[in-house]
């Protein structure tokens, strides 16, 4: 999922290129805009139109009014999928954010060993979701996995077969995969905090914990908003990882909205209802992104640098 870039305001883009012709540079955005329209906007309208039709993916597309919407909105599966999606968003945010802030703050130092560690921590992000899911699935297998292999009884659980356990595994694996990325954002954020603030605090006799809560955390406010937006909108469309790891199971315990959409569209051949779910996904995503921007306040996109 990509988040549309926040447009730079007013003169900011002019100052970005010293001596550049701002007006002329606007044309540079044209190819990106065309691609966005061709692969983003037009399909969006296509999906919206499809949600008012009946199509099995093979034959004719026939208009059917609100039938697909009625089918989706009256299906008890929808509130369940929404709830699961919300839980995934909330829990993965709650796990990832503190961990990423702490890791990012730790990695913001300039010692060499931290540089080495930050490379190591970054590795999970380089792996594809499908590969991660397959690996975890093998490791968690109750009969041939890690627990059975090493003879550790506590690890021999029906990890992906019990609803609560399966859900926890999803949150864990999602966090394992994406904490590196958010740590990187926080590392950058912490490094932007002026050193003078810490020096002043040191003179006032503040300890490390005090400095973290009184300087680092408040200064990271906008980084937190950015990272959370990426996290929330990203979790909304989790598909590949959950699809491979649990396939929405056991039963429908981990069936998120994106998975529900795929199952209806491509497995059950119901493109109309699948499109309706896709529209719902877009709306929920937009609402969440706007909400987070509200929370960040109007000045969220302004630079926090001294003198800027």
């Amino acid at each position: 999922m990509t988040v549309p870039p926040i447009p730079a305001r007013g003169k900011a883009s002019l100052t970005a290129v010293p001596g550049g012709q701002g007006r002329g540079l606007a044309w540079l955005a044209l190819p990106a805009l065309l691609i966005f329209v061709a692969f983003g906007v037009i399909p969006l309208f296509g999906v919206f139109a499809l949600s008012f039709t009946t199509w099995d993916g093979l034959g004719e597309i026939r208009p059917s009014g609100f039938d697909s919407w009625r089918a989706v909105l009256t299906d008890p599966g929808l509130p369940h999928a929404l709830w699961v999606t919300f839980l995934v968003i909330a829990l993965s945010w709650a796990v990832q954010t503190p961990a990423s802030i702490l890791l990012g703050t730790f990695l913001a130092g300039f010692q060499r060993y931290r540089a080495v560690l930050s490379v190591v921590y970054f590795i999970p992000l380089l792996l594809s979701s499908a590969a991660i899911a397959i690996t975890y699935k093998a490791l968690l297998d109750p009969n041939f996995g890690l627990g059975a292999g090493l003879g550790i009884p506590i690890l021999v659980q029906d990890w992906l077969g019990e609803p609560v356990l399966a859900f926890s595994v999803v949150i864990f694996v999602v966090s394992w995969q994406f904490i590196p990325f958010h740590s990187l954002i926080y590392q950058g954020g912490v490094r932007q905090i002026p050193r003078s603030m810490y020096e002043a605090a040191e003179i006032d006799g503040a300890g490390r914990v005090r400095m973290f809560f009184s300087i680092t955390l408040p200064q990271l406010k906008y980084t937190i908003i950015t990272s959370s937006t990426l996290m929330v909108v990203g979790s909304l469309v989790f598909f590949d990882l959950i699809f491979v790891l649990t396939a929405g199971g056991p039963g429908d315990a981990t069936r998120v909205l994106a998975l529900e959409m795929y199952k209806r569209g491509f497995q059950a051949n119901l493109m109309g209802p699948a499109s309706a779910i896709a529209v719902i996904l877009v709306l929920v995503g937009l609402a969440l992104a706007l909400l987070l921007r509200r929370l960040g306040g109007r000045d969220a996109t302004h630079s926090q640098l001294e003198g800027a």
Partner: protein, 453 residues
């Protein structure tokens, strides 16, 4: 072979004379990316574009090898009008073929499982009616298992050529485990329940099951429905009869199923095991589970991956036992009666001719039968049992051949027989039934809602 090739070519060059044929040939020259089948495309001396027919098939040895060799033989015999092939993995193929057909980009030869999927192609007008072709080639048709045509037939017309091998669902067991607890293979359902207690007491899981794949659980229901109520129970669902799932025999079967789950009939953690990783088979051949209900296709992979489990004579197999008082004939079986090949309606006349020639000369041919037999499978050709010889796999092949040809009813796997829409609801509810999160009655109610959809 030679005279036929000549006459075909004459026919082709004749059809090229027609403007329609030329127009169609022009359309055919631009298709999806084609691989393999070296050289020989494009314009030839006979005039017009002698395009190739396209054919997509599944990867995964040893079956892939049989499919590849058939194409190679055909292309060698037809250097100017052969097949251009692309290969896919099983699950990727299922989505890809649907999308391609929907987009009008289907390959000439549409490979599939027949049944409900084929029916949806037929309803969308995407595949050709092959009934008259079979009438013209009656000898060809008569050589194949009659049971293989059910899943190729929609509204009494045949839309697909049955090909490849027959794979009924079989009850496998580990002879070592039975020796260990001093028991005999089950003769009826009551024995199964007794065996569950015995094996659990001995610390061996009674049945292996890759429950996350869902269709694995379905195989159990297919047999229980058949043994308790006979094939009519599912036939009623297939025919779209109202409330067909409410049949008392169906409820009885679903209840028996949940009883088996409640008494720990299946390996612990079965709902997180998938069949595509073959972990369920591994449980059987490593001695962790005593029995497994699975498709005939697993014999080959257990032989390959299971060390000396198969070659050492430890694998036992049998047809699913009867349920006492049940109406179903114990010789009945379920599973995949064959694989199926249809011809895309969007293909050019020329491509269609190539495809038909491929069916006639290569599919179900003696050379191919030999290939399938060579990898321990049973091709759907009558009298192929004469080729089994006296090798180590011959008893297995004989068993599959007899099961398939003696079955009073050979029911196609439910998820293939039903429409994709109904199949998805079915698999979903089967997963919930096995999770014990819905009752048999709820299962029936949920499925009654999608009957005929």
């Amino acid at each position: 072979m030679e005279p036929r090739t000549t006459s075909r070519r004459t026919f082709l060059s004749l059809s090229m004379g027609l403007p329609l044929g030329a127009a169609l040939a022009a359309c055919g020259s631009s298709g999806p990316t084609q691989t393999g089948a070296g050289g020989g495309t494009g314009t030839t001396g006979t005039g017009g574009g002698a395009g190739k027919a396209t054919y997509w098939y599944l990867t995964g040895q040893p079956n892939e090898g049989v499919r590849t060799r058939a194409v190679e033989r055909f292309n060698k015999a037809n250097p100017n009008a052969g097949l251009a092939t692309t290969t896919f993995q099983n699950d990727a193929f299922k989505t890809k073929i649907k999308t391609a057909i929907g987009a009008g980009e289907a390959p000439t030869i549409i490979w599939g499982w027949g049944g409900g999927g084929l029916r949806s192609y037929v309803q969308a007008g995407q595949v050709d009616d092959l009934t008259s072709w079979f009438d013209q080639n009656a000898a060809y048709k008569d050589r194949l298992f009659p049971s293989s045509f059910g899943a190729a037939t929609v509204d009494s017309k045949i839309y697909a050529v049955p090909v490849e091998a027959v794979t009924p669902i079989v009850l496998y067991y580990d002879k070592r485990a039975f020796e260990k607890v001093g028991a005999q293979p089950p003769q009826e359902w009551g024995d199964i329940m007794d065996l569950v207690k015995k094996f659990n007491a001995a610390g061996i899981a009674p049945f292996s099951l890759g429950g996350q794949s869902r269709w694995t659980n379905m195989m159990w229901l297919e047999f229980l429905f058949d043994r308790i109520g006979g094939p009519e129970i599912f036939q009623a669902v297939y025919d779209g009869e109202k409330d067909a799932w409410n049949n008392p025999a169906a409820i009885d079967a679903l209840t028996k199923m949940q009883d088996l789950i409640k008494t720990n009939g299946f390996v612990k953690g079965f709902s997180s095991i998938t069949a595509d990783s073959n972990a369920d088979q591994a449980l059987l051949y490593t001695g962790k589970a005593a029995m497994m209900l699975h498709g005939g296709w697993t014999y080959g992979s257990m032989k390959e991956e299971g060390g000396d489990f198969v070659t050492g004579g430890n694998l036992g197999y049998m047809n699913f036992p009867p349920v006492s008082g049940g109406k179903g004939d114990p010789s009945n079986t379920v599973g995949n009666p064959a694989q199926y090949m249809s011809i895309s309606s969007k293909a050019t006349a020329e491509q269609k001719e190539i495809a038909k020639k491929f069916f006639l000369t290569e599919m179900n041919s003696d050379a191919q039968s030999k290939d399938w037999v060579g990898i321990t499978q049973v091709p759907i050709v009558k009298g192929v049992d004469a080729q089994f010889g006296s090798g180590a796999d011959a008893p297995w092949q004989k068993f599959v051949y007899d099961t398939a040809s003696n079955a009073k009813s050979f029911q196609q796997s439910w998820d293939q027989a039903l429409s994709p829409t109904a199949a998805e609801v079915l698999l979903d509810n089967i997963a919930k039934l096995f999770q014990m999160s819905i009752s048999p009655q709820q299962f029936a109610t949920n499925l009654n809602e999608v009957i005929g959809k």
